[in-house]
């Protein structure tokens, strides 16, 4: 009846944006998507993702129990509906999608606390009634690392999916949907016009709509700008964890995903099977306070992937053929929890902040965000609500928890310090960082500015880069 208007504009065409558009269209909404549809999709986390459905294996032993309960609960809810979601995408796109069931988590001496990490992962699975079977690492097909694994954990209810095929199928489902339109351009801004919201794209398109869902990751603060609208929205700070991954053809087979636990601010090393015998190798993670979506992978990032993969998963990775290199920016918040649903503005919603679990959380996130539009108020007290309080953690607390990871990151994988060396280095770094946190010198002021901007553990590695610049 009425052309040129939409019930909802979804800004961003990554998995979270597309999942939300698909969900809303299925609920009868007229949806306009603004985001790259063709071209390289530079920087989209979805396109660089390993796409393991890691319900439990993202749990870390140092995470507070409340956070574990919330996160595992949401990931379980997402996992429970995943097959049904894939079936709906298949029905709409005509493209078949399949999960590869199960994920192996392996512990080795590279991570000093790997046994504790596996225990925490196993405990989370058992607590939620899911199986988690301890096994001999010799049973893990494709595992042949330089550093011997001492334990393996089989998580049969976790899984992996081909992120490229999933994104392509979802894009086809959205693009072909009679209630969806898709502007193949980058969103540049959102403004109000009367009670209407107007979303502008870099090809000159302006879409008039009732609701806006911002799913453009760490670009969201740029899209919102700093005017009255941004103030009313009140979006919490958002950064990105820049990740690089490789697609390879290796001289060995990996039938199901193998990963190490999280460590040293990163997601460990992981190999994930892809169709036609290809393998996905991931992933680096580097906090970026000003994401550069156009920047290609650095040799340092690629070298780290190859080195870690050989040390922890399979030494023969060096013989593999490199097929593709991808860089993605995982959106992340100060408290590491996603931002899903209504903001301080009744018609502006966020679908972002899913960090390392975006592929798994996509269908669940889409439901929560769509509910905020079709049944307002339903998730106002959800722990992922963008309106939750997000106090910045105390600096001293952050430092105390970060130096251990920093030393681990510098040493890994397989780097050796003399007995007791790591502990002494940690204590030294703690003292040095505490000086910087309270000092009045120029370098101290620079560090304090960085902390204020991104008060989270992942900022610690950035200090190393800053140190190079300061000296």
């Amino acid at each position: 009846m009425i052309k040129g208007s939409a019930d909802v504009t979804v800004a961003g065409s990554g998995l979270l944006g597309l999942a939300t558009a698909f969900e809303l269209a299925q609920r009868g909404m007229a949806v306009a998507v603004v985001g790259p549809r063709t071209g390289p999709h530079g920087g989209q986390a979805s396109r660089a993702a390993g796409a393991m459905l890691t319900v439990f294996s993202e749990v870390e032993s140092t995470h507070p129990p409340d956070r574990v309960r919330v996160e595992v609960g949401e990931r379980l809810a997402a996992r429970a509906g995943y097959e049904q979601w894939l079936a709906a995408i298949t029905a709409a796109s005509g493209r078949s999608l399949a999960l590869v069931p199960g994920v192996w988590v392996v512990a080795n001496a590279v991570g000093a606390d790997d046994a504790a990490e596996l225990a925490a992962i196993r405990a989370a699975a058992i607590e939620h009634g899911d199986p988690a079977e301890t096994a001999d690492p010799g049973e893990v097909i494709g595992l042949a690392p330089q550093h011997r694994a001492h334990q393996a954990l089989w998580l049969p209810t976790e899984a992996s999916v081909d992120a490229t095929a999933l994104t392509a199928a979802l894009a086809a489902a959205v693009y072909g949907h009679p209630r969806c339109t898709w502007t193949d351009a980058l969103v540049t801004g959102v403004r109000e016009s009367g009670e209407q919201l107007v979303v502008a794209a870099d090809d000159g398109t302006a879409i008039t709509c009732a609701h806006v869902v911002l799913a453009a990751g760490a670009a969201i603060p740029v899209v919102l700008g700093d005017g009255e609208l941004a103030e009313q929205v009140g979006a919490p700070p958002l950064w990105s964890g820049r990740g690089t991954s490789l697609l390879v053809r290796a001289p060995f087979t990996v039938p199901v995903a193998i990963r190490t636990p999280n460590r040293g601010f990163a997601c460990g090393s992981h190999l994930v099977p892809r169709p036609d015998g290809r393998l996905y190798l991931g992933g680096t993670n580097r906090l970026s306070t000003q994401p550069d979506y156009g920047r290609s992978a650095g040799l340092d990032e690629i070298a780290t992937l190859v080195h870690d993969g050989g040390a922890e998963l399979n030494t023969r990775l060096r013989e593999a053929e490199l097929l593709d290199v991808r860089v993605g920016h995982r959106p992340v918040t100060t408290d590491h929890l996603p931002l899903l649903g209504r903001t301080g503005h009744p018609m502006v919603h966020l679908a972002t902040g899913t960090y390392r679990c975006g592929v798994l959380l996509a269908p669940r996130a889409a439901q929560i965000v769509a509910d905020g539009i079709t049944t307002p108020g339903r998730h106002d007290r959800h722990p992922y609500s963008p309106r939750r309080p997000m106090p910045a953690p105390a600096l001293a607390e952050l430092l105390a928890g970060s130096t251990h990871g920093l030393v681990e990151m510098l040493c890994q994988p397989g780097g050796q310090l003399p007995a007791g060396g790591a502990e002494r280095l940690e204590a030294f770094l703690n003292a040095a960082l505490a000086e910087l946190a309270t000092g009045r010198t120029g370098p101290a002021a620079a560090v304090q500015r960085m902390w204020r901007r991104a008060p989270m553990a992942e900022t610690v590695p950035l200090l190393l880069d800053a140190a190079a610049r300061v000296s």
């Binding site: 009425i2 009868g28 009367g194 009732a210 609701h211 009744p346 307002p376």
Partner: protein, 274 residues
């Protein structure tokens, strides 16, 4: 015959396009509109809704429509609000208007606005009361109405006069349904109902009921414009969610914040001519 209906498209993001607020800076907001060559000026304040484009679109439809006879007509203005239709139809030659509203501030405003436009107070009969209680016999040549069209919800409920003007029961149709039920008590045979019918309140249902009652129904104009949400800006997510339910049920039509107002003219059959 959809293509034959005149279509008026108002720009998005702008309110009061047809009837801009102008004139005095002190006192109530005053809107101006030129109807059939006559300039009318309407003031509204407090509990009285300022004329919106929804209501004014009916006058825009009548501006180019000679087939609806106004000169000499006895008119019933149902839910008169600020008196927009009362004043416009009197200036265009109507003999007398009964201005009906449940809100006493509205009937008072209609009288004030008639005086503001130099009309003889004797030609306005103001009645504060409910349409359901208005006594017959059918004596009006024209019944004109811009009914409230929003569905009700506790999230944005209030007990003031503006609520009365905008919200019409769980499906938004409360006044439409009373009006249709009582039409034969109001309109004399051959008389015409002029309705500013919102696409949020099931235009097809009204057309079907009128047709079934033997009325000749014409669509004089379809106006596309923004849903006037300013009053409910803070709760417009809830209001829209109610409308999504009605749309899913097939009884509301809109996209984003764009909807339509159909100006319907339904003429009561004369005995023996059905």
């Amino acid at each position: 015959m959809v293509g034959d209906r005149p279509r008026l498209v108002l720009p998005p993001g702008v309110g009061n396009v047809l009837c801009p607020i102008g004139g005095e800076t002190a006192g109530p907001a005053v809107g101006e509109y030129v109807f059939r060559g006559c300039r009318l000026r309407l003031g509204a304040a407090g509990d009285v809704l300022f004329p919106t484009d929804v209501g004014v679109s009916l006058l825009a439809a009548l501006n180019g429509e000679a087939a609806v006879p106004i000169v000499g007509a006895q008119v019933l203005d149902v839910g008169c609000g600020s008196g927009l239709y009362t004043v416009a139809l009197l200036l265009a030659g109507a003999a007398r208007v009964t201005a009906l509203d449940v809100n006493p501030a509205c009937t008072a405003a209609a009288i004030d606005n008639a005086a503001r436009n130099g009309l003889d107070p004797g030609v306005v009969e103001a009645i504060t009361g409910d349409l359901a209680a208005l006594a017959g016999p059918p004596r009006w040549d024209l019944v004109v109405c811009n009914p409230p069209h929003f569905p009700s919800d506790p999230a944005y409920a209030s007990a003031d006069g503006l609520e009365t003007a905008l919200v019409g029961g769980v499906d938004g149709r409360a006044l439409y349904d009373v009006l249709l039920a009582r039409l034969d008590d109001l309109l004399r045979p051959g008389g015409t109902l002029l309705l500013a019918h919102s696409s949020l309140t099931d235009v097809a249902r009204t057309e079907a009921r009128l047709t079934a009652a033997g009325y000749a129904v014409r669509t004089l104009q379809v106006c596309e414009l923004d849903i006037p949400l300013r009053r409910y800006a803070a709760a417009r997510d809830v209001l829209l969610a109610r409308l999504y339910q009605l749309r899913a049920a097939g009884s509301a039509a809109f996209t984003g914040l764009r909807f339509e107002v159909h100006t319907l003219a339904a003429t009561r059959p004369v005995e023996g001519q059905e």
